[in-house]
């Protein structure tokens, strides 16, 4: 027995003697992700978590200019838009090849969009393509010559260039799709700064430097993405030296990393808005003064500073400030003014009717929904509004909220992240976007002036004119208060001090082509 114990101790000491955690090697970046990617086919996925890998393996025709949400040339060197806003002609960059050696040309671009949009395309069954509707305005894609490709739209659609910069617009290698069929998502081939190397189920995705990258080979030799679903484990892994970059750090832990000289914390406001949908069709919120009163009653500053611990900013309207070019910065958030709220409620003749409030347990972009919902309930209570919370799991919650709140609830939490200032108002604020029309206007907001402005903005190809129209929309909805505007989330990441030139982008993406780690 004694010999057995001695042997066990020797074996154990041998295990511990090995470097249990090694610092990650130079020029290899280890990124802690919140989950394993669903697929690496950019047309088949919807999650930001997957986009963080895809943006580095693929390019789109356009991409967002560094630090902004304005499209700039990427695989397309230049483009022309016809005066009626219907025809977009792109000139492709010369000499670009996919990682499998096949050329990027007009036919390849056409293949990408046809695969997504045409149900009779021979490779349409490699889907489904959940976000294909980003390009539902496209009527026909034509390869004019080897490097010229023409998109004909069904109607003018101004967000088209931004949507091309969105991950759903990334361009995949047609030959690789033909070769791998439905398994393309596990064998991705693009033109990006990094080439796909291996995907070990649930433990890592490895991409390596593309020496022939058209925009200059990146400094990093390789990037390893590790999925770590449990937040506490992810933090432990970061603290113990197993990661170089960690995304989506919970507010509670940010301070710990801030205080530690071995780490740097990055924050970047994104195209995100967190709000409450107010049911305008029936009940107390049918009255504008009551909706405004609710907006005055909530202490949004306390919400973002205490519950979210500074990881978000107070929202003023439906458009996040990250869309700098279209953001109305004259607009002020409703100030916290319970007295004014009480006065408005009294004037409106609110009789203390009880309100039903849908809260979710968690979900994409929902931040800390239960704590936030409870704080909102308390603030409304303080001005005399009795609120009953009903809490649902995310999928169930969406099933209740998306078909509209009529007959069910007076208010519901919601959050959106979008690629263009058009998307959210178009899907949630127009009369034609009421749930029964297939939209997401679950508050049944209807203002003909807003409808008119949004229709105009959609067909205008002049960015300045569009910006002006969106600013007017923001002012109108701020006044009408179909929602209770709460917060704009700041994306965050923690990196070790070895990482250089790291930057977060406003689209919540993680672009690594300029990052180095000597």
């Amino acid at each position: 027995m004694r010999r057995l114990i001695a042997a066990a101790i020797t074996a154990a000491s041998m295990l511990f003697a090995l470097p249990a955690f090694s610092q990650t090697p130079p020029n290899v970046l280890v990124v802690g992700q919140i989950a394993e990617p669903k697929s690496l086919d950019p047309h088949a996925v919807t999650a930001v978590n997957d986009f963080r890998i895809l943006m580095n393996v693929y390019d789109g025709l356009t991409r967002y200019k560094d630090g902004t949400l304005e499209p700039e040339p990427a695989l397309a060197e230049s483009w022309e838009i016809s005066d009626d806003g219907i025809t977009y002609t792109f000139k492709l960059r010369e000499g670009v090849t996919f990682h499998d050696g096949t050329p990027l040309n007009a036919e390849a671009v056409k293949f990408n969009f046809d695969r997504m949009l045409k149900e009779d395309h021979p490779y349409h069954d490699t889907g489904p393509f959940p976000l294909a509707f980003y390009f539902s305005a496209v009527e026909e894609v034509t390869a004019v010559d080897d490097l010229t490709v023409e998109f004909k739209l069904k109607e003018p659609f101004a967000p088209f260039l931004s949507n091309l910069a969105y991950p759903t617009g990334l361009i995949v290698s047609p030959e690789a799709v033909k070769e791998n069929g439905k398994d393309f998502g596990r064998n991705p081939v693009g033109t990006g700064a990094f080439k796909f190397e291996e995907w070990q189920a649930n433990s890592r995705v490895v991409v390596t430097r593309n020496e022939d990258y058209w925009d200059g080979a990146p400094p990093l030799e390789a990037v390893i993405y590790r999925p770590i679903t449990d937040t506490n484990t992810r933090i432990a892994e970061m603290l113990s030296g197993g990661l170089d970059v960690m995304v989506e750090v919970p507010p509670d832990s940010l301070q710990q990393f801030r205080d530690d000289a071995n780490f740097s914390v990055y924050e970047q406001a994104g195209p995100h808005v967190w709000f409450l949908i107010l049911n305008m069709k029936e009940g107390p919120f049918a009255e504008k003064a009551v909706r405004q009163a609710a907006n005055y009653a909530i202490n949004k500053k306390a919400l973002v500073e205490n519950i979210l611990q500074g990881t978000a900013e107070v929202a003023a309207g439906p458009t996040p400030p990250a869309f700098a070019w279209a953001y109305n910065d004259e607009l002020q958030p409703y100030p916290y003014d319970p007295e004014k709220a009480k006065q408005l409620l009294e004037e409106a003749g609110y009789d203390g009717e009880e309100l039903t409030f849908y809260v979710t347990e968690g979900g994409s972009g929902m931040l800390d929904p239960i704590a936030m919902g409870t704080a909102i309930q308390a603030d409304l209570q303080a001005v005399g509004m009795k609120v009953n919370i009903e809490t649902y799991e995310w999928n169930t919650f969406l099933g209740k909220v998306n078909p509209g709140l009529e007959g069910k609830a007076d208010m519901a939490e919601m959050a959106w992240m979008t690629s263009d200032p058009d998307t959210l108002p178009f899907l949630t604020l127009r009369t034609a976007a009421w749930p029964e029309e297939g939209g997401f206007n679950s508050s049944y907001y209807s203002n003909p002036e807003v409808d008119e402005l949004l229709d105009q903005a959609r067909v205008s190809t002049d960015p300045d004119e569009r910006a002006e129209l969106y600013k007017q929309v923001q002012a109108l909805t701020n006044e009408d208060a179909p929602w209770l505007f709460v917060a704009n989330w700041k994306q965050n990441a923690v990196v070790t001090s070895a990482v250089e030139d790291f930057e977060l982008q406003p689209d919540f993406g993680l672009v690594l082509r300029d990052v180095s780690k000597p």
Partner: protein, 315 residues
Amino acid sequence: MTAYIGKRLLAAIPVILGLSIIVFLVMKLIPGDPAQALLGSYATPDNVERINRALGLDRSWPEQYVIWIGNLLQGDFGRSYILNRPVIDEVLDRFGATLVLAGASLLICSVLGIFAGIVSAVRQFGWTDRIVTFFVLIGISMPAFFLGLVFILFFAVQWRLLPASGMYAVYGGGDLPDLLRHLILPAGTLAIVATGVVARLTRAAMLEVLRQDFIRTARAKGLSENAVIYRHAFRAALVSIIPVIGIQAGFVLGGAVYIETVFQWPGLGQMLVKAVSTRDLLLVQGGVLVAATLYVLVNLLADVAQAMLDPRLKA
């Protein structure tokens, strides 16, 4: 014996089939579907319908189930809706990891549990017994996922002795010592509760055997105390300990669900959690089928071992 094993295997078929029907119904009855999980806030009725059509989910429930069973009989587990990957590939990728983790825990809990149980029984009501019982009760009462986090905090973050998560180092590594270092914390955590149970039951079984006449005879013959306890008493007690270990196999497989999540162990349990939350029905079915089969096999193994140890059971 062969006939017995064959009969047991045949009896497992309706169990597993029934299980697949229950899993199917439960997955259909909980709200939300894969299309909603894929589309998130973009889940308009139009979009949901388009995705459901593409996934074959627009058919009726019985039709879907019959298609699934039909394909299964031809060895086709179907494709995961969310991962867009054959279910069998995903399940096999993860099966090995779960087998390693569950196997290691089962080994730890058997060896430690039996050892602690024997020591405890031999020194009944002595100090050793009290100390062992104290730790065993703590082990049984502590939630394993919490204990796992505490272990990570000390062994990985504070002392940096062991890796915090994963099965292999992300670069280098990949060999057996690397695997063992990654295995210690999750397998140890997972084994703790089972060790307690095995220890308690071994103690009880040993106490019963030690009171019997043949032990007194063995002692009277002048055998050494070690020989009496390990060769005579323990062998007799083993007959009632082995089925307990078989049951612990099921416990360890169930516990793997959250231990795998805490330690990011790339196994079946973690896959099932994710598959349920994204309503990935075929993946859930595939995973449950494999886990259930494994459970049936381990229990069969325990019964066979028991029968071999105890000639009375052979009839």
